[in-house]
């Protein structure tokens, strides 16, 4: 087993485990904002770990750049979605406020 294979296995294992932890958090937490917190975490460190594993395997080829684009979009766009969802959650819980 090469060092790159070991690095891929470790990065991928950590990334998938962290992603499953975030999924469990979304399912188990009681309040809406707690669930939203885990949703935000799901596109942070776990996504970057999976991207790192993909880049170790594919290097900076066209496939690696496309993986970078997919995870980069997820990482950069998701905070705006989280803010809007938190706003919707606040409006849902207190509909009389503007």
């Amino acid at each position: 087993m090469h060092a790159s294979d070991l690095a891929v296995d470790v990065l991928l294992g950590l990334g998938v485990a962290a992603e499953l932890l975030c999924v469990a958090g979304v399912l188990v937490m009681r309040t809406t904002l707690d669930r939203l917190h885990y949703t935000g975490a799901a596109t942070g460190v776990p996504a970057l770990l999976v991207l790192a594993a993909a880049l170790v395997r594919t290097h900076m080829s066209a496939a690696g750049l496309q993986a970078l684009a997919a995870v980069g979009l997820l990482f950069l766009l998701n905070p705006a979605l989280l803010l809007l969802t938190a706003h919707a959650a606040a409006r849902t819980d207190r509909p009389e406020e503007p």
Binding site: R35, V50, A69, L74, L77, H87
Partner: protein, 83 residues
Amino acid sequence: MNAFVVAATVLLGALAPLLVAASRRRPIDGLIALETAGAVATLALVCLSVGLGESIFFTVAVIAAVASWIGGLVFARFLARWT
């Protein structure tokens, strides 16, 4: 079957409870589950494309990332305005 295909299978398996939660909880919590499912599906597609060596799946992953984001925005605006 390499590590990426195994990871994609595990991530696709994690979609099931999220979709159940999205269909059974109140709308705002369902939306949160749906947003998480979009992120998990995108990562699963990235893993699948690396594992199978099919470059077409990378394009699907990019489209999934953008489409799930746009869908989440629309649902969030809808919930904020009409609830």
